[in-house]
């Protein structure tokens, strides 16, 4: 065996051999085995969820999911049941909540993306006195956790805003609509989005911008026909990050959408189901896996953008 010979080699051999030895010591069979063991350990819980969601109700209640490898009897019955039939103290299945998740996530990605790109362009290329200050304040707003804004924002949406007895913003009757959730997600996304897109947009070539201005293009024209196409990669990264952030969010959803089938997303409903006392694991696992499909698909299809977006957004919230 080669590693035996190498361990017998004298210490002071040519540097190339030493380098090889270092490389070897890191890629030793033990190291590989460790990584594989941890990877298997990391994957098993998700596998258990998937297998359980495919097993019939009686089997789930009477035996562990690993038994399915001995007595395979798998089907999609639980998915039909959890989507269309009521349970867990609610007459609606999970379908309306799945619909809500999509109907919340898409606009809550588009709105901040467009608004932040516009603001970032203005701050980077339509400079004015105080634009640095505005940028710095937005930059600094990243430190505010969204918990700091929840109560006042909820009060604003339900009761409007007053100074003394003068009404500044009227009470908006938004209950039962997506608007509060969209608005809240848009507001909370802006500091990070503006910061990231500004970094990108500010680095676009100056010559290009000046040439466009000389040609008589307005800022709106430049924004639409030069800035947006050129920062497509940055926009894509942020869009993926924001979409998954909204899709996976529970705090904003619970606060602004409650738990009703009219507006609440999957996460809110699943948290409710997990908290209820009935032990219907076959339904809960099917529901949970449904909510994982979208992020997992995005993750495996767009891994590169995904990791980049997540790294950039890791301080958000």
């Amino acid at each position: 065996m080669s590693d035996v010979r190498e361990s017998e080699a004298p210490v002071a051999v040519a540097p190339v051999t030493t380098a090889k030895a270092v490389r070897k010591s890191f890629s030793s069979p033990i190291a590989s085995a460790l990584v594989i063991a941890v990877t298997v350990l990391w994957t098993i819980p998700t596998l258990g969820l998937l297998v359980t969601s495919l097993r019939p109700k009686e089997d789930v209640a009477s035996s562990g999911w690993w038994e399915a490898f001995v007595h395979p009897d798998l089907g999609l019955g639980n998915y039909h049941a959890v989507l269309f039939e009521g349970g867990f103290g609610n007459s609606a299945g999970l379908l309306p909540f799945l619909v809500n998740s999509l109907a919340i996530s898409v606009p809550a990605t588009v709105f901040p993306l467009v608004l932040a790109a516009m603001a970032a362009y203005a701050l980077a290329w339509v400079r004015f006195r105080g634009s640095d200050t505005v940028f710095f304040v937005i930059f600094a707003l990243q430190v505010v956790p969204l918990q700091m804004a929840l109560i006042p924002l909820l009060q604003l949406f339900s009761g409007g805003a007053h100074i003394g007895s003068v009404e500044i913003i009227p009470a908006l009757d938004l209950k039962g609509t997506y608007a509060p959730v969209w608005l809240a997600h848009t507001m909370f996304a802006l500091p990070l989005a503006i910061f990231l897109l500004h970094n990108f947009i500010a680095q676009l070539p100056r010559d290009l911008m000046e040439a466009a201005i000389v040609d008589g293009a307005s800022h709106f024209k430049i924004f639409r026909s030069i800035v947006l196409p050129l920062c497509a990669p940055a926009l894509a990264s942020f869009a993926i990050f924001q979409f998954l952030w909204v899709w996976n969010d529970l705090l904003v959803a619970l606060t602004f959408a409650g738990g009703t089938p009219e507006v609440a997303p999957m996460t809110a409903r699943l948290a409710q189901m997990a908290g209820s006392t009935g032990q219907r694991w076959e339904l809960l696992t099917a529901g949970a896996f449904l909510s994982l499909i979208v992020p997992l698909a995005v993750f495996f299809a767009l891994q590169r953008y995904f990791v980049r977006g997540l790294l950039a957004g890791s301080v958000k919230g």
Partner: protein
């Protein structure tokens, strides 16, 4: 069954209406923007620039002022008032948070989370990053280890709640952990989720499960970015194995390690999903972020809830500030 069909039918109608609303909102939003762009683009003369600034920067600034700046001030204001915000009480809500024994427990549990989960996740991530660095097919391992980061904390909690499911020992176990414990000869394993203080650590496992892959991917990238000349020079000087790791790798990636650690700390401090989904904050597992939610939105104690939010803010702020400054510095170097 006809009722079943009717139900399904109304569900699809409902879905169509909701998607219609959502698509309509996006179309309306983009339509208004285009109209404003068109109108503002035609304005000439000395109004061009101010108009462009107002149209492009205005909406974002307005939303930030209404959605973050004013609420920030208002939350501090609320935290100094009683629970229905009718009377000024000074620091009494903060005093309540720091002296009531069950809130003290909550703060201690949060501190425990803050110390244990990020350290374990970052440490494990670092070890994995070093081990995986020279492996064949490392992309596959990295993807599988990173995968939990993609899913929601609610989903992750359900996955692990099922692992921790415990039945009476006379019945067949369906939870993996109980089955393993029995297989290893522990005849009467406890009901995991109910046993204090073990349950808090079991909940932390979920956070570690989610964040380790993140730590590994970031640290692995940092290790790969160490210039080859430096490692080669160290090798020529006779450093190898652990010594190479300690004297070259660690100093070169120290900043990244700290950034990863603080990032996981921020997530840990603010996450309320795990505790909420797995125990609802019962059985001695409550943490600050979930207590803030319960005080504010379950019990409508706006004063106390706001005080807890401010405490959370003060705890998170230095970590985030450090992180974004560090990231900016790195970008400036490049």
């Amino acid at each position: 069954m006809p009722t079943d069909l009717q139900l399904a039918d109304s569900a699809w109608t409902d879905a169509a209406i909701k998607f219609g609303n959502s698509a309509g909102a996006i179309a309306g939003f983009l339509g208004i923007l285009l109209a404003v762009f068109f109108a503002a683009g035609r304005a000439g003369g000395r109004f061009t620039r101010p108009l462009a600034i107002a149209v492009m920067l205005g909406p974002a600034v307005l939303l930030l002022v209404v959605g973050l700046v004013v609420p920030l001030v208002r939350t501090v204001f609320l935290s100094l008032h009683n629970d229905d915000s009718t009377r000024f009480v000074g620091g009494r809500n903060y005093g309540w948070a720091l002296t009531t024994s069950n809130i003290q427990d909550v703060l201690l549990t949060t501190l425990l989370w803050l110390l244990v989960a990020p350290l374990v996740a970052t440490g494990l991530g670092l070890v994995l990053a070093l081990l995986v660095d020279r492996m064949k097919g490392q992309a596959v391992y990295k993807a599988l280890l990173f995968m939990p980061m993609a899913i929601s904390l609610v989903g992750a909690s359900i996955i692990w709640k099922f692992v921790y499911e415990a039945r009476d020992p006379s019945q067949p176990q369906v939870g993996l952990l109980s089955r393993l414990a029995i297989g290893l000869g522990w005849h009467h394993p406890p009901n995991w989720i109910l046993s204090q203080p073990l349950n808090t650590f079991l909940l932390m496992v979920v956070m570690v499960w989610v964040q380790t892959g993140f730590a590994m991917v970031v640290l692995s990238a940092a290790i790969k970015a160490i210039p080859d000349e430096i490692t080669e020079a160290a090798r020529l000087d006779g450093a190898s194995g652990f010594r190479l790791f300690r004297s070259v790798t660690v100093p070169m990636i120290r900043t990244t390690v700290v950034v990863v650690l603080t990032t996981v700390m921020i997530t840990t401090l603010k996450a309320f999903d795990i505790v909420r989904t797995m125990t609802g904050g019962n059985f001695g597992t409550q943490v600050l972020a979930n207590e803030m939610y319960s005080q504010s939105f379950v019990q409508s104690n706006y004063g106390r809830g706001s005080a807890l939010a401010v405490i959370l803010f003060l705890a998170v702020m230095p970590l985030v500030a450090y992180n974004i400054l560090q990231l900016r510095k790195e970008r400036a170097v490049r």
